[in-house]
Amino acid sequence: MRNADRRNASDRDNGVRGHNQLASIQSAKRIVRRVGVQAVPTVFGIIALNFLLLKLMPGDAADAIAGMSGSATVETMEALRRSLGLDQSTITQLIAYVTNVATFNLGVSSNYGAPVISVIMERLPNTLLLMLSAFSLALLFGIVIGWAMAVFANRWPDRLLTTGVLLLYSAPGFWVGLMAIVLFSAHLGWLPSGGSETIGVPLTGLAKLRDRAVHLVLPAAALATFFVAIYARLTRASMLEVLRQDFMRAAAAKGLHPIVLQFRHALRNALIPVTTVAGLHLANLLSGAIVVETVFNWPGLGRLAMNSLIARDFNVLLGILFLSSIIVIVTNIAIDLIVMWLDPRIEA
């Protein structure tokens, strides 16, 4: 362990020194290590967990198929199990499952009568759109509010904002969404209360874009609230940490303009930990999206998961669990790369 630490330390030194062509080789190495050591075992773990959950589910695939066809004798059930490989040992089944999942063959949905992957892919863009909008909103407002809190630390604007942020941190996003519906769509009539577009009105071009944007505002804002609070608190703490550093005093003594000081020196350095932690909350963002989608009738993965739960469509449920985990892993790798690019001292 200690040897490994020393090796890491020397790698880190190389990372600082490595600039030109060395840097690209280094970062390629890092990506390989990031994917090989961290992502691949996680993916296998998720597949294994999925398999375990599938085994724990009441009934198996043969039961589901028999249920769809209406009736089955003991003999046909046995034949069905044999043809599906359900009579094999657990290890053989696990290997078959891993092979299937690795080729994105997630089985057939008993509820929709279509391959799980196509059922999910149909809904995926909507959820991604919602998540991405909420994520951007949360980062933007979180950083701005956190920065303002740090600048006015311990004076009344800070206290006011801190209280507001703590309120956002404590309110369930779906309830904020419901209250927003009461205010903005029931009483003021400014925004639609649900769905992802106006149904029955064929729109094109700019009008279509505007329609979709209007439908997106409330769900994205409701999903963002909790994360605005997280990022604001983080930015505040991290800004205060940076403002204490010696280089800030040096830059101020050098006579730099306060605006340059705040943005180029303080905020930029304060954002590094914020970006790193932002990735950790992606899975939570997806969890939040499920409830918010239900509130706003947003046709995404969350609604699909709820419908599949009611219909006992386990293949779709596990497919969503698997694919959303993959999305979290891939996005996290992307964020790591961005952070590395922002700050060459950091390695994966």
């Binding site: 362990m1 996680t42 967990l49 941190y169 499920i290 409830v291 239900t294 739960l309 996290n332």
Partner: protein, 301 residues
């Protein structure tokens, strides 16, 4: 008037002698104890627990039973101070009884998360090497999976009941504690007192449980307050989605039931939500202040 001034030990004009000053300093509360927010938080949380504990006394009978005429607005009829829903169920009774489920699920799930997280984090941080690698991968695995989806799948396997919900939320919430415990153990395992304990020939379990854990525990316990808060929020989300125990009232299920009349009778949704916000807010305030006390550098200043 003169008597009063003379008797007051905190008035510096009358009591300028150094002995009295030091006594008055000793008697004044530390800064964090004078924070009004902390006391508001403690008061709200205490009253929530009292309401939950005495729900059966304050509102005897099943809160799911019809109590009066339907759809009375809050304040309209003083025998139903928070109004009634479409089936004539008393909303105040629902909120008081709902406090039971919400608080119990929050606290129990946090305890389960604390237990798993501390165990995993302690083993990973103390042993390092292969053990650490495997356990860190396991922690990352659970951080990668969207918690609510995992909980939904677990609830699909079994029938929704309060213990299963506690289990599902607990099993999904421990990674944060595990990471924290691990970093604490990694920095403490090289500390002098641990070296001394090793030198004395103490066994590994004793070093972990009796030497390192008591030193790491305050930070971990304070972090658990976030777990309780998130547990309450998660339970609210689940029972809002109709995944809660159908025979138990909880704040989330009240919101879910009120949602059908959101446009007109919005108080049915607003009030249970307010109960959640107040409770979670008080937990977060207390947790924040405790963090500041334990680690003064992390807070304001």
């Amino acid at each position: 008037m003169t008597d009063m001034v003379a008797n007051s030990p905190t008035t510096p004009v009358v009591a300028p002698t150094p002995v009295t000053t030091s006594r008055s300093k000793r008697w004044s509360l530390p800064a964090y104890m004078r924070d009004p927010f902390l006391w508001v938080g403690v008061a709200i949380l205490l009253s929530a627990f009292v309401l939950a504990a005495f729900a059966g006394v304050i509102y005897p009978g099943d809160p799911l039973d019809m109590a009066g005429p339907p759809l009375i607005w809050p304040g309209e009829d003083m025998s139903y101070p928070l109004g009634t829903d479409a089936l004539g169920r008393d909303l105040a009774a629902g909120i008081v009884h709902g406090a039971r489920v919400s608080l119990m699920v929050g606290v129990c799930a946090a305890m389960l998360g604390l237990l798993i997280g501390t165990t995993v984090g302690a083993l990973a941080g103390y042993f390092g090497g292969v053990v650490d690698n495997v356990l860190v991968r396991l922690t990352e695995l659970f951080q990668t999976i969207p918690t609510l989806l995992l909980v939904i799948v677990i609830l699909a396997i079994g029938n929704p009941s309060v213990p299963l919900i506690v289990f599902a939320i607990g099993i999904a919430s421990w990674p944060m504690i595990a990471r924290l415990t691990r970093s604490q153990f990694m920095s403490l395992r090289e500390a002098d007192f641990v070296m001394a304990a090793r030198g004395l020939g103490y066994g590994t379990p004793r070093i972990i449980l009796r030497e390192i854990l008591p030193n790491a525990l305050p930070t971990i316990v304070v972090a658990t307050s976030v777990l309780v808060a998130n547990g309450i929020l998660a339970e609210a989300g689940l029972s809002f989605l109709n995944l809660g125990d159908p025979n138990q009232v909880s704040w989330g299920s009240l919101i879910g039931n009120g949602r059908t009349m959101l446009r007109t009778e919005w108080y049915l949704t607003a009030l249970p939500g307010l109960a959640i916000v107040l409770t979670v807010l008080s937990i977060n305030i207390i947790g924040d202040r405790l963090t500041d006390i334990l680690n003064p550098r992390s807070g304001a200043r």
